[in-house]
Structures are given as structure tokens and as C-alpha cells.
Symmetry: C2
């Protein structure tokens, strides 16, 4: 009941809003996130929910940031201790597949959905999603370049082509799992990745 406690309460409230917001947005879309629905789900008033954010766009931006934190923690951090280059690239492919196969958000991969939803809608939300996509792309490219330099991928391998094809396998896996509910797509994605990398890929946490 001290000032410190009410700051902590406010932080908890904000965290609860963002956690539920990422879950709802993964299913309904970021644009389909409504203040009234979120407030009702959390037993709050609309104005109370909007308070920490000011307006809907700021809420959307912070939902994207919260989802990015989860994505990074789920996929990249578990493999950060693998040797740079091919071992880490193969490991991140495995944890990426795992993230899609055992979805953290009820609507599957938040970023695949957000990228598709906002690819044609200019504005701060699109810019932020694109910024995270670029960051992800650069991380993958760094590992691919290192793998080529180490001789773990054939000389002359084009890192951009490799990352393009790996991304394609992830997107095909997402569509197969979400739209077609075809769990057989998990080994197909791993097989395609393994062929591109020359080493086994398995869904790992």
C-alpha cells in the first residue's frame, strides 16, 4: 500500500494487459484487438485499460514489443550457447520449428500473422514489425556467413538464398499447421532444412 506497491501494481496490470493482448492478437489480428474486448476479458474498464498506453496504436506497438520479447526468448536464447555458425543455425531452425509446433500463442506465430496483416498498411505498426523482421534476418545471415567462412557450408553458398529458403520452409510449416492442421508438416520442414544445411534438424526447445 506504499507508493512502491502501487507502482508495482501498475506494472503488473500493464504486464497482464500485454500478455492477454498478444494472445488475443495472435488469433484476431492486431487490428482486431479492441479495447472493449480486452477490458471485458480482464475485468477492467475501457478507460482503465487504455490509461497505461494512451491510445490504441501505442497499445498495438507495445503488444508487438511484448511478442518480440517472447519470440526472442523462445527461439534464440535457448540456442545462444551453441557454437556460432552452422551448429547455431541448425539449432535455431530446430527451436523455430518447435515454436510453431507447440505454439506459445493460441493463434500460432504472432509475427507471421502480424507481417501478413500489416504488410500493406503503412504506419508505425508496420515499421516496427518490419524492424523486428530485419533484425531476425540479420541474425540468421550472420550465422550463415560464419558457417560458410568455417567451411561448414559449401563455398559459394549464397547466405541470402539459404535464408530465403529456410524462411519459406517455416512459412509453409505455419500454413500447414494452422490452416490444414497437418502435423506431418513438422518432419517435412525438418527434412527440407536438413537438406539445405547438410546436418540433421530436429524440433527442440
Amino acid at each position: 500500500m506504499s507508493p512502491r506497491s502501487s507502482l508495482a501494481d501498475a506494472a503488473r496490470t500493464r504486464a497482464a494487459i500485454l500478455a492477454h493482448g498478444t494472445a488475443v492478437a495472435s488469433v484476431e489480428g492486431l487490428a482486431g484487438l479492441t479495447i472493449g474486448r480486452l477490458a471485458a476479458d480482464l475485468g477492467m474498464s475501457k478507460s482503465g485499460l487504455l490509461g497505461p498506453f494512451g491510445n490504441k496504436e501505442t497499445l498495438q506497438l507495445q503488444v508487438v514489443e511484448a511478442a518480440a520479447d517472447v519470440f526472442w526468448r523462445e527461439i534464440w536464447e535457448p540456442v545462444a550457447d551453441r557454437p556460432a555458425g552452422l551448429p547455431r543455425l541448425a539449432a535455431v531452425c530446430g527451436s523455430w520449428v518447435r515454436h510453431l509446433a507447440r505454439p506459445v500463442f493460441p493463434g500460432g506465430c504472432f509475427f507471421i500473422a502480424a507481417a501478413s496483416e500489416f504488410d500493406d498498411r503503412p504506419g508505425p505498426v508496420r515499421d516496427l514489425v518490419l524492424g523486428y523482421a530485419d533484425r531476425w534476418h540479420r541474425e540468421l545471415r550472420g550465422q550463415a556467413l560464419r558457417a560458410v567462412a568455417d567451411g561448414d557450408l559449401p563455398a559459394g553458398t549464397d547466405p541470402e538464398q539459404l535464408i530465403f529458403e529456410l524462411t519459406g520452409l517455416v512459412l509453409a510449416l505455419h500454413q500447414a499447421l494452422r490452416l490444414r492442421q497437418d502435423a506431418g508438416a513438422v518432419p517435412r520442414a525438418c527434412q527440407g532444412m536438413a537438406r539445405l544445411l547438410g546436418v540433421p534438424v530436429r524440433p527442440t526447445a
Copy 2:
């Protein structure tokens, strides 16, 4: 001004609504299609627009069907005269790439967007989108099976794996073009397809 003319007028009105509806939905999403916005764009009243359809869901379903007609005409029909098997499969990959690179709808590929938007929303719209996806999948598989039977793809080639990877390249191309606005993705998609098929793939109309 005869009855025949007013039937023709009604058909033209319906066609205009569906043509504009597919365009708007490709950008705003099928759920973001609103009756008021569509009516304002076309200079009609909301009730006049809703008349031919009865309710929004029926409008959505008929927009999906109209988009499917365009998709089929744009991608499959131009290559229907190619020999069945590998030649037709390579040709359809080329016209598929072309469809994405020179988008017919302002929001890019209607079906990639609709599949992502409705993969988590049960109901008639999802069922219809899934039905078209299945139909597309079966067409591709038929050509792949024929290519294997003809000896134009290595014996032991798994048609499902092949189609999964081809679809991944299409999805990666869509994301690169729409989100990242990276036109360099067109040759990357073609290169990946050519490696999978063993023959050149070029974007063709």
C-alpha cells in the same frame, strides 16, 4: 429498361461489388471489409449493397469465390495447354511467381492473406478458403505424381515433400515482396524452384 435489362443491371452491380470487394479485402483483410465502406466507395447505399447478398458472411463467401476465379484464370489456365507432369508443374510455378510479382489485387495474393487471416477462425469462410487450398494442393500433387511416373523427377521423389517446399518458396516470395519490398526475391524463388524441379523456372504470364 425491359426486365432483361434490369436483370443485366443487377448482375453488373453484383460483379462491381465483388470486384471492388476482392481488391479491398486483399489489403484490409476479409474481416476488415465493411459494408459501409464498400457502399461509400461504390456510391451506393448500405442496404443496396447488402441486397444481393443478404448478410456480410454471404458477401465474404462470394468475395472468396470471385477471388478464386481470378486466381485460377491467372495462374492455372495459361499453363493448362502445357504437357502434363513436369512441364506443366514448372510452368505453373512460373505463372504463380508472376502472379505475386505483378499483383492482380492491390494487397498481393488474396489467398495467402485470407489463409493467414482465417486459419484460426472456424466457420464457413475458413472452410471455403481451406477447400480451395485443398483443390490447389491436389492439382499440384497430380502433376508431381505424373512427373515422377514419367521419370522426369528422380524415382523416390516424395510429391508431398516437393509441393511443401514449392509452397514455402511462394510464401517466402510473398513475404519478401509485400513486407520487405525486396524485388530480388523473385529470382531467389525461381532459383529454389528450379533446383527442386531440375528445370528452369521463369516468371511467365
